[in-house]
């Protein structure tokens, strides 16, 4: 009788441990069943209050990083300040000369290319600051400080330093998440500028992406060739720089060629981006 009562008590205690252990797992597994659009919206709404702190932390981190780079750099250069001043003077002149060249080229471009007229001038660019990076090092995305209130929509193209950085995946009221071209889920239709071969740029690692599905017997591709976006699919504008070719990947037996690419923009260095509002 006593043993049975003890067993009952023991079972009750074990149940008290078992249930609170398993309930969180059941809740989390059921969260997986929520449609991605709704769960993305939940995520961006919940993370919104964090964005001012994240922005401050990112700014502080950048300042510290810059200071760490600056200290040894300034130490090294302090000996030849006068030489640098001379360099600055020369560089200022170069900048002025290059600005004049850029102005002239932009005027020429505007007058001759339809892309500039329809693609760039037709879209309204929005400037945004990077608020946070992806917390997982296996995914590549960033959070920016503009959202639906500013007119951002899903699949809007995001560029930085005049090159494609990614596209908007989730839009919140005042923040949006950008999937970078290096993310494993990213797929961008692209072509090689020099040969006009069309393929698909896919992510997969932090510092490189791959150009897949190129015809195996297409033209010879050399290191340094430029890869630009293609308007196939209607998401990305045509001729936006994406990356440069690093090397070919030998995948025997496949009827397609794959190339390793180095993205034009390093997402870790990007602080400000431009969103092409649709």
């Amino acid at each position: 009788m006593k043993t049975r009562r003890n067993n009952k008590k023991r079972k009750k205690r074990l149940l008290l441990i078992f249930l609170p252990t398993v309930i969180p797992l059941i809740v989390c597994l059921s969260l997986l069943a929520i449609p991605s659009k709704i769960s993305d919206h939940i995520k961006i709404t919940v993370s919104r209050p964090l964005s001012p702190i994240q922005k401050a932390s990112l700014t502080a981190g950048s300042a510290v990083k810059k200071a760490f780079r600056w200290i040894p750099h300034s130490w090294r250069l302090s000996s030849n300040v006068s030489e640098l001043e001379e360099d600055v003077f020369i560089l200022e002149n170069v900048v002025v000369a290059q600005k004049a060249t850029i102005d002239r080229l932009e005027t020429e471009l505007a007058s001759v290319t339809e892309y500039y007229k329809e693609g760039v001038l037709g879209q309204k660019p929005l400037l945004a600051n990077v608020v946070a990076y992806d917390a997982s090092d296996q995914r590549r995305s960033i959070l920016i400080d503009i959202g639906s209130l500013h007119g951002v929509t899903e699949n809007s193209v995001v560029i930085a330093d005049a090159a494609l950085l990614g596209k908007i995946s989730t839009v919140g009221n005042s923040t949006s998440r950008v999937i970078l071209i290096t993310d494993p889920s990213s797929k961008v239709p692209a072509r090689i500028l020099e040969t006009d071969d069309i393929g698909m740029v896919e992510g997969g690692s932090p510092a490189e992406c791959r150009l897949k599905y190129l015809p195996r017997w297409g033209q010879k591709v050399e290191k340094g060739y430029k890869v630009v976006s293609s308007s196939i699919g209607g998401v990305f504008p045509d001729s936006l720089p994406i990356a440069t070719v690093v090397e070919g990947i030998d995948n025997k037996g496949s009827s397609y060629r794959t190339l390793k690419l180095k993205p034009r923009v390093n997402p870790a260095d990007v602080k400000t981006v431009m969103v092409l509002k649709k």
């Binding site: 441990i17 993305d40 964090l50 992806d134 917390a135 993310d183 494993p184 997969g204």
Partner: protein, 164 residues
């Protein structure tokens, strides 16, 4: 007290993982403090508390990362439950033993995540992925020493399972 510490830690880890740690990452690899806290909770707390702690850490990570909501949380809870059940077979009082458990859990988690991503998108580069799984896990385990002392200080004196 323990819950306050865990929630405050989750908050600070969320901020640091999404900002500063990204800036100090090498080869794109950053330490995963969410996983460290989930594993150390499993080693130092009772199963229900460990499961809840893993849930908090996993959901915090899910909110700040691309991908389905609940994926990391489910993964973390399963890891916490398995470690919690096997805990008594390990000599877990020692710091090295705890770091080894973090290393193993990190390899399983990173490997599993990479496998899921490869199955979902089929676009993983082999060398960076292997680097991420093994070097990233060792890097994560090395960072686990600091939270280890935090748990040593605030863990309950007698675990419920030991009492039963």
């Amino acid at each position: 007290m323990l819950w306050i510490i865990l929630i405050v830690c989750a908050f600070f880890i969320s901020i640091l993982e999404s900002t500063t740690f990204n800036q100090i990452a090498f080869f794109g690899i950053q330490p995963d403090f969410f996983l460290i806290f989930a594993v150390l909770s499993a080693l130092n707390l009772d199963l229900p508390e460990a499961s809840m702690s893993a849930c908090i850490m996993g959901l915090s990570k899910d909110i700040l990362t691309e991908g389905p909501l609940g994926a990391n949380a489910s993964f973390f809870i399963v890891i916490a439950i398995v470690i919690g059940l096997l805990r008594h077979k390990l000599y877990t009082e020692n710091i090295l033993a705890q770091l080894l458990v973090v290393l193993t859990a990190s390899i399983i988690y990173r490997g599993g995540s990479a496998l899921i991503m490869w199955l979902s998108y089929g676009t993983l580069a082999p060398v960076p992925t292997l680097l991420n799984v093994f070097v990233g896990s060792a890097y994560t385990a090395a960072w686990a020493a600091a939270p280890y002392f935090l748990f040593r200080k605030f863990r309950p004196l007698r675990l419920r399972r030991d009492v039963l």
